[in-house]
Symmetry: C2
Subunit: 345 residues, 2 copies
């Protein structure tokens, strides 16, 4: 059978040992530097903040003296470069990438995939870019909030476009798996619509709920229990980070926000006239049940690198679209990569 890449075994073996260069050492980037190091990779990082870089170095991690130096080393060692900076800082960092490592293997961990791909095409067009999005986080931020467990059993979306660079796709998937995550392949536009619904809209609703609750004064806050505490948890995130994430996905967020506004308006009308909220609440109950069902029915697959590129990419997207998740490579793929060792490094 035709292999997706020229030598599937060599590609997978190289991907599993590829050095990792992390630009940005906040919650996600800092956790990634920890997790990649812990997984035995040669991994180094850089931060525009001297304080952050000093903290990471003091914790024993390999930190370059500058973003430029980290990227120059990535070019020299053919590393996978991971951009872990906020969307608002992306253009500036991409300019440095284009200068120091113009043809590098590149991915990102930003929560929106279409706009990042466009920025890369504009600012660093010669890079071999495959976007990524680990679906994890806490309401805290910065190096100190990081943890090498942050990706453990979490979903890491790997962008799966028709023109994807398959070697780099394998690099990104292998890094995600090495960090303990599972891979969900998805086209950038499908990803962006989905995360608007299940991440960006929840952040916006949490903020509005927190405002309305706090306007109720001390008595309301004293009475706040589980539904308010859970419903507003992510409102504690630094608003600048949430704003960058949500605003970066404007078109998709507007569409899911309009969906929510339509449903809330209908509920308001029904409550004001006949008093009935049951249809709204039943639909919500069914939606939440669909989440629980999807979680129980989770399909976990191991993949190899066989088939034509077009077949492989479509098969991967189908895994994601139908609620599947990639948990590793087939024994055959690993044997092709590592021969008689027959195990992941």
């Amino acid at each position: 059978m035709e292999a997706v890449v020229e030598s599937a075994g060599a590609t997978l073996a190289a991907a599993q040992r590829r050095p990792v260069c992390v630009i940005g050492l906040g919650l996600i980037g800092g956790s990634l530097l920890r997790a990649a190091t812990d997984a035995g990779r040669s991994a180094w990082g850089a931060s525009a903040s001297t304080t952050t870089a000093e903290k990471a170095a003091a914790d024993g991690y390999d930190v370059a003296v500058s973003v430029d130096a980290a990227l120059a080393r990535a070019a020299a060692e053919d590393a996978l470069v991971v951009l872990a900076v906020p969307l608002t800082a992306l253009d500036d960092v991409l300019a440095v990438v284009a200068r120091e490592a113009p043809g590098c293997r590149l991915t990102d961990v930003t929560s929106v995939k279409g706009p990042v791909a466009e920025a890369v095409a504009r600012r660093a067009p010669a890079t071999r870019f495959v976007g990524g999005h680990p679906m994890t986080g806490t309401e805290f931020s910065g190096w100190d909030a990081g943890s090498l467990q942050l990706f453990h059993e979490k979903v890491w979306v790997v962008a799966t476009e028709d023109d994807a660079d398959l070697e780099v796709w394998v690099d990104v998937a292998a890094l995600a798996l090495a960090c303990g995550a599972v891979v969900v392949p998805a086209a950038a536009d499908e990803h962006d619509l989905a995360v608007a619904r299940i991440s960006h809209l929840p952040h916006l609703l949490a903020a509005v709920l927190a405002s309305v609750g706090a306007d109720g004064g001390e008595l309301a806050l004293a009475l706040a229990a589980g539904s308010f505490t859970d419903g507003t948890r992510v409102a504690a995130t630094r608003p600048e980070l949430t704003a960058a994430m949500c605003e970066g996905n404007r078109a998709a967020l507007l569409s899911s926000l309009d969906d929510a506004l339509g449903r809330l308006g209908a509920a308001r009308g029904s409550l004001a006239s006949t008093g009935g909220l049951l249809s709204t609440l039943t639909a919500g109950h069914d939606g939440r049940e669909a989440l629980d069902v999807a979680r129980r029915a989770r399909r976990e697959v191991r993949i190899d690198l066989e088939g034509t590129p077009a077949e492989f990419l479509e098969a991967m997207r189908e895994v994601g679209r139908t609620g599947g998740r990639v948990i590793g490579w087939t024994p055959e793929a690993l044997e092709a990569a590592f021969g008689s060792e027959d195990q992941e490094p």
Copy 2:
């Protein structure tokens, strides 16, 4: 100093030993029967559901053969009757109360206080009613979901109207404290406005969010992480229960829903035009911070039964309005109640 009630010591002593009759053995009523029994009270319950009654009896609790029988015993033993039925069943149960225990000491555990007080005035006007609302729960329901720990360190609102029956006020507060809760005194209307903001609106937003997310299909559900899981948790509650709770507080919920719709509309307009969500998200961040500050600054007080009734009630409401909570009785009050024993039974 004038005492709130004729004999403060005797009132408190009687309240701490008063038998408890629980009507309705679902999540809240079932937990209350367990907690009151565990606290050493003579406590019995009744359920309109034979299955529920049999389960509670099989678990070793004192269960009456019927609601009528439970209430007749309450009248005979001057017990505090606790109505733990959904709002939609309230009128029917109050008719039985009026027949079997027309002058009983009466409270409830329903989430809305104004409408319950109106129903009691209409259906069982001779009862000595002081409303209550334990702010606790889970997304599960029924006897099996109950636990004697359900009230532990949770807020239990005790309705504190100008015409409150002070003996029964003390009965209800003493029961809440015996179950491990803290008491927040509040006027019924202030309570209803507050819970619309921090309980009923969160339930409605959770339902809408769950619907919008599930409409994103398998990919969206596979990508759902903390913000969606937390933001939709209470949508798993039985929709009939949530509907009864929310619809029972219609006026207050409409007002907080309009507040939320106004804020969401403003966010939508800003996102669509200039793309800015920062003011919405900053307000939300500040609101959530206010919750955390309020929790850290929690003021815990012990109370006695001194002062005129008007002074006592206003002082109690002021405790609630300013974020305070009653955690027990002063040593002097307990000494007056139990003399040289000087301890709670």
